[in-house]
Structure formats: structure tokens, C-alpha cells
């Protein structure tokens, strides 16, 4: 009796563990989180555009809003999702380092002022010397700060970093009379409204380096990739058209993101969206992307984001559309692929 109960219980546990890792068949789950450049995904799902494209390729796509950005990437990396919206840096340091071969399927936009360094009692990056800076460590904010410091011949040792949750950063900045923060929108907007706050650096000074993308498992079927690309560019076409539909779409996205229409429009201004697939293809095939990824991987390695025991930034390989690879050719885990966006630009989806 005892033995049976025990064995039964063990069996249930093991079966449960195995099934939860198994693939869900023909239905694919895609994760996203709230960010200006990703609101079109919510719109695509709400208006049925995504479903339409999924049907066209004979699959099912379930778009899931995960309310915590890092959690959404962690869920993707551990196998719960087939695709997830994330930045180029996080795509490298979380799924790629975690051994999940990932493809940057859609390059949606780059931050062009959506991330910034704000301080009181100072007006240039040099004034940051010796100051306490609040930011989410290891995030794109951290990357932006290091780039800003490097451009001003300073290093991380010149400042003191304080890891601070992005949910609290704006309120803490407001209450601190000698505050300095690095953050992104919408909290960036809130910090700039504080009396005495000065924007000393933002991502428009390093254009094209903080990229927001839809990342998909490299082994996911072409149907999923095509359906996602198709739905995305249909929404992009609506947003950039001059029709009434464009205004309605913006209103819907603003409401969904919890911002007013004016705020959302202001955020869109500092987000360099690629409204046509042709622009995105050109960007992805450009040589600047390689330079950017070199910066990003150097930063990630120096911060220890490749994990304990990794002694070389060549540990992981990054592949570009022209087939060139930086890093380990035998361990390519992040691939920039322009081919699906290319098909979209040719109107052949």
C-alpha cells in the first residue's frame, strides 16, 4: 500500500514535469510586454489581424501579455513561448546565453530618445562624477550609461550605481534632492517633469543601438515566422497611413498602454519605428548593426552577463544577414535574419 502510493505519486510528478516541457502542437504562444514600440502587437491581436494571418498559414497563434518584461523573456527562454518581444541586448544575454537558438525576426524600431539619463544639480554627463545613480542594473539603461560615460572619457568607477526597480524609479527621483537616474519611457517622461531635472544624455545620441525586436526560436516553423511578419507590417501600414484608421489605431494603442493619446504620440516621436519592411531590411543588413552588436557583447561580457566561468566574449556566436559571424562559429545562438522582412517588402507573403 505504502509503496503503491509512493510510486503513484512519483509517477505523477515525473509525468507532470515532462508534459509541461513538451510542445503544444500546432498552436504557438507569443509573449510581449508593454512598451511603446510593441503596442502594435496588442493592436494586431485585439483587431483580429494576427488571427487572420495565422489562419492564412494554417496555424494558431496566441499572443500573451506578460506584465513583467524580464519575466516574459525568462518564460520564452525556459520554453513556454515560441517567440517574444525584446531588445537586442536582452536577446543576447538571456535566451542566447541560455542556449536557446534565437532569431531576430522583425526589427521593429530603435530607441531614439526613449532611454535617457536625467539628473538634478548638473547639466552634462561629466557632472555625474561621484554621484549616486539609480537604474536597473544590467538593463539597456546600464548599457546607455556606460556608452555615455565612455564617450566622455569616464568609466563606471567614476559613479556609484544603485539597482532600483523601474516601477519606483520616478517617485524616488522626485523625492531625492540630488537625484540622478537612467531610465526609459514612460518613467523617463515623469522624471523630466520633476522640477530641476535635466536630461543630460539620451539614446538619440547613440541611434540604432537599442533595438526593439520580435525574437523567435530559430527552429520554429516558417509558417509562424511568416504569419508574425505579415501581421506586423499590416499594422505598420495602418499606423503610417494618413487615413482615419491610423488615428483610431494610435488611440487604441495609447489606451492599451495606459497613456493619453498625446503622451503616446510623444513617446512614438522618440521611437524610430520602421514602418516599412524595406527600411527594416536595410537597417538589418547595414554595417552599423555589426558595430552595435560588438559594443553590446563587449558590455555584456564585461558585466559578467555571460555567466560565471565564461572567460571570453567570443563564447557565443552572432550571425548577420550576410552570413558573417562574430564570436564562436560553433556556438551561434543569435541570428539576425532579414529574409522574412525581405519577402514582406516584396509583397510576397
Amino acid at each position: 500500500m505504502k509503496k503503491t502510493v509512493f510510486m503513484l505519486w512519483l509517477l505523477v510528478t515525473v509525468v507532470f514535469l515532462f508534459t509541461s516541457f513538451a510542445d503544444a502542437g500546432q498552436k504557438y504562444k507569443v509573449a510581449w510586454s508593454h512598451y511603446t514600440g510593441w503596442e502594435p502587437w496588442g493592436y494586431a491581436s485585439d483587431t483580429g489581424i494576427l488571427e487572420k494571418w495565422a489562419k492564412k498559414y494554417g496555424i494558431g497563434i496566441e499572443l500573451v501579455l506578460v506584465n513583467d518584461y524580464i519575466e516574459s523573456i525568462n518564460l520564452y527562454t525556459s520554453g513556454s513561448f515560441s517567440a517574444c518581444a525584446m531588445t537586442n541586448m536582452d536577446a543576447l544575454t538571456i535566451p542566447a546565453v541560455g542556449g536557446v537558438d534565437s532569431t531576430v525576426l522583425i526589427v521593429g524600431d530603435f530607441s531614439n530618445g526613449n532611454d535617457g539619463i536625467v539628473m538634478k544639480n548638473g547639466s552634462t554627463v561629466k557632472d555625474l562624477k561621484g554621484r549616486d545613480i539609480k537604474l536597473v542594473e544590467f538593463s539597456v539603461s546600464h548599457y546607455l550609461l556606460i556608452r555615455a560615460l565612455t564617450m566622455n572619457n569616464m568609466t563606471e568607477k567614476d559613479v556609484k550605481l544603485m539597482n532600483t526597480s523601474d516601477a519606483d524609479i520616478a517617485a524616488l527621483f522626485a523625492s531625492d534632492s540630488n537625484g540622478a537616474v537612467v531610465t526609459w519611457n514612460p518613467p523617463l517622461m515623469q522624471t523630466l517633469n520633476v522640477k530641476g531635472a535635466q536630461l543630460v544624455f539620451d539614446s538619440s545620441k547613440i541611434p540604432g543601438e537599442i533595438i526593439d525586436a520580435m525574437v523567435v526560436r530559430t527552429d520554429a516553423p516558417a509558417e509562424l515566422k511568416k504569419a508574425l511578419v505579415g501581421a506586423w507590417y499590416e499594422v505598420m501600414a495602418i499606423m503610417s497611413s494618413k487615413e482615419k484608421k491610423a488615428k483610431e489605431a494610435i488611440q487604441m494603442m495609447a489606451k492599451n498602454s495606459g497613456a493619453t493619446e498625446a503622451e503616446f504620440k510623444a513617446q512614438l516621436k522618440t521611437t524610430a519605428m520602421f514602418y516599412t519592411p524595406a527600411e527594416a531590411v536595410q537597417f538589418t543588413k547595414g554595417t552599423d548593426l555589426k558595430k552595435t552588436m560588438e559594443y553590446v557583447r563587449t558590455f555584456s561580457f564585461e558585466q559578467g552577463l555571460f555567466g560565471e566561468g565564461v572567460t571570453d566574449k567570443d563564447f557565443i556566436g552572432i550571425e548577420f544577414p550576410d552570413g558573417s559571424i562574430i564570436g564562436n562559429k560553433n556556438n551561434v545562438k543569435l541570428r539576425f535574419n532579414a529574409s522574412y522582412m525581405q519577402i514582406a517588402s516584396e509583397g510576397k507573403l
Binding site: 505504502k2 512519483l10 510528478t13 515525473v14 514535469l17 515532462f18 516541457f21 524580464i70 523573456i73 525568462n74 527562454t77 525556459s78 520554453g79 544575454t93 538571456i94 546565453v97 541560455g98 542556449g99 536557446v100 539609480k134 536597473v136 542594473e137 544590467f138 538593463s139 563606471e156 568607477k157 556609484k160 550605481l161 544603485m162 539597482n163 532600483t164 526597480s165 519606483d168 517617485a171 524616488l172 523625492s175 531625492d176 552577463l305 555567466g307 560565471e308 566561468g309 545562438k333
Partner: protein, 276 residues
């Protein structure tokens, strides 16, 4: 006599050891199996790292000087966290002891403060976190105050109850023997509720850890909770799992030390409890 089933079961000594270890063995083997399955599929998987990977991570954090900061990170995290926890809980113990004791002995004092203490004891401490951070800053002060706040009311109320439980005859007797009010509090009541205070601290430490980790997660430059929430950023389970085990170990050791203090200093209390 049954060995395992039923309320009359008397497991022999060897069985007790085996039964006690069983849940641990099951947990570890389920983990190892699942980890093996995942690593088989993807050798770089980070969700369920192998034991070797965790040892490597601990080695890097605990026994190798950090490249950038030039210190042992795990040691620094541990010291910072323990400092915050100990200061917070000790302050709570001192305030709670004196407040509770006086509430129990002096009716006038009780009338003045008891309704207030009861009222504020209902405020959930974690909901105060944003307010504490903004008013006391996110440096050490804000964190210590959160831990203090989260534990001192429970200690106060327990000290109050412990004082109330002292037989009135004792106090009357002391008074007839010519004791002053002051010496009643400090010579009769205080020694009797000291072991109970340590017991309460033991129970409060769990909550103390919770508040410590919560405050370190929101804003910090070091600490055990800080590290866990920092490396979550790149899903370093090989660091998170050893840190959780380390926190558990530290908590267990603190509990053990407090238990030993009671046994060593207040053996009468242990006997009294046994006797019911």
C-alpha cells in the same frame, strides 16, 4: 504497535532518520532528473542548472575576488544583509520589550497607548514600503526601518501578553515586601519575560527576512536579496538557487543560536514549558 500509520505509531529511531530524510531525497532526485532532462536537450539551459554549474557559480562569487570591485561578493552581500536584519530586529526587540512590558504593568500607560498600538498593528508593513523609502531614503535607513516596523508590533503585543500572564500574587508579594514600582518592572517582570522575548524574536526572524529581501529587491547596492533580483535579470539560476539555500542556512543558524541561548541562560523556562 504500528511503525508509521495511525495516532499510536511509534517509529523506531532508525525509521525516524530515514523518514526525515525522505522528503529531501525526493526533492533532490526530482530536481536532478528534471535538470538532467533539460540539459540533455540544451546544454546551456539556465532554468535548472547542474550541481557542478552551481558550485562553479558559488566559487566565482564566494571564493574569487570580484574583478570590478575587488572584494568577495557573497561575503559582502551576507554582511550587509545581516547587518540590516540584526539592527532592525534588535531595535524592534528593545522597543517592543519595553513598550509591551510597560503596557502590561501600568494601566494608565495602557489606556494611553494600547488602542493606538492595536490600530497600527493592522497596517500591512509591506504596503508602507514606498512611503518609508521616500521619507527615509533608500539607503540603509529605509531598509532597517521597514524591518523594524514589520517586527516590533508583534513583539510589543507578545511582550504585553507575557507580562499579563505573570501571576498577580507575585507582584502583590513584592509590593508587601517593600518593592518599588520601578523594581517590580525591572526585577520581577523583566527577567521572567526575557526567554519569551527570545522566542518571539525567533518567530519574527522569518518576517524580518521577508522585509529585508523585499526592500533589497527595490533599491540597493548590495545584499542577498539584491543579488537574487539582480541576476534574475539574466536568469542565473546557478546563482539564485545557492543563494536561497544560503539564506535558509543563515536563518536556521540564527534560530539555532537563539534556541541555545534560551537553553543555556533560561533552563528554568525550558523546564516550565515542558511541565506545561
Amino acid at each position: 504497535m504500528p511503525i508509521f500509520w495511525g495516532i499510536h505509531a511509534k517509529p523506531p529511531k532508525i525509521w525516524k532518520i530515514v523518514l526525515g530524510l525522505l522528503p529531501f531525497i525526493i526533492l533532490v532526485s526530482v530536481y536532478l532528473t528534471a535538470s538532467h532532462v533539460r540539459l540533455e536537450r540544451n546544454s546551456d539551459d539556465k532554468l535548472l542548472p547542474s550541481i557542478g554549474k552551481m558550485i562553479q557559480a558559488v566559487d566565482g562569487l564566494a571564493f574569487t575576488k570580484d574583478k570590478r570591485k575587488g572584494e568577495y561578493l557573497m561575503l559582502r552581500d551576507t554582511l550587509s544583509s545581516l547587518k540590516r536584519l540584526i539592527i532592525g530586529v534588535l531595535a524592534a526587540a528593545v522597543v517592543g520589550l519595553f513598550l509591551g512590558m510597560n503596557l502590561g504593568v501600568f494601566p494608565g500607560f495602557n489606556a494611553l497607548l494600547m488602542p493606538f498600538v492595536t490600530f497600527i498593528s493592522i497596517i500591512p508593513s509591506l504596503s508602507l514600503l514606498p512611503i518609508l523609502f521616500i521619507s527615509f531614503g533608500i539607503d540603509e535607513m529605509g531598509k532597517v526601518i521597514l524591518i523594524f516596523w514589520g517586527t516590533f508590533i508583534l513583539i510589543t503585543r507578545d511582550m504585553y501578553l507575557a507580562t499579563k500572564a505573570i501571576h498577580e500574587e507575585q507582584i502583590i508579594k513584592a509590593l508587601t515586601l517593600g518593592a518599588s514600582q520601578f523594581s517590580i518592572v525591572y526585577k520581577i517582570v523583566l527577567p521572567q519575560i526575557m526567554p519569551r522575548l527570545i522566542e518571539t524574536i525567533r518567530l519574527c526572524l522569518g518576517g524580518g527576512w521577508l522585509f529585508l529581501i523585499a526592500s533589497e529587491a527595490i533599491a540597493a547596492t548590495d545584499g542577498l536579496g539584491y543579488r537574487i533580483f539582480l541576476v534574475r535579470r539574466y536568469m542565473a539560476m546557478d546563482i539564485i538557487i545557492p543563494y536561497v539555500l544560503w539564506i535558509t542556512f543563515l536563518g536556521y543558524m540564527m534560530d539555532l543560536i537563539l534556541r541555545l541561548i534560551i537553553k543555556w541562560r533560561y533552563s528554568w523556562y525550558v523546564e516550565m514549558r515542558k511541565g506545561g
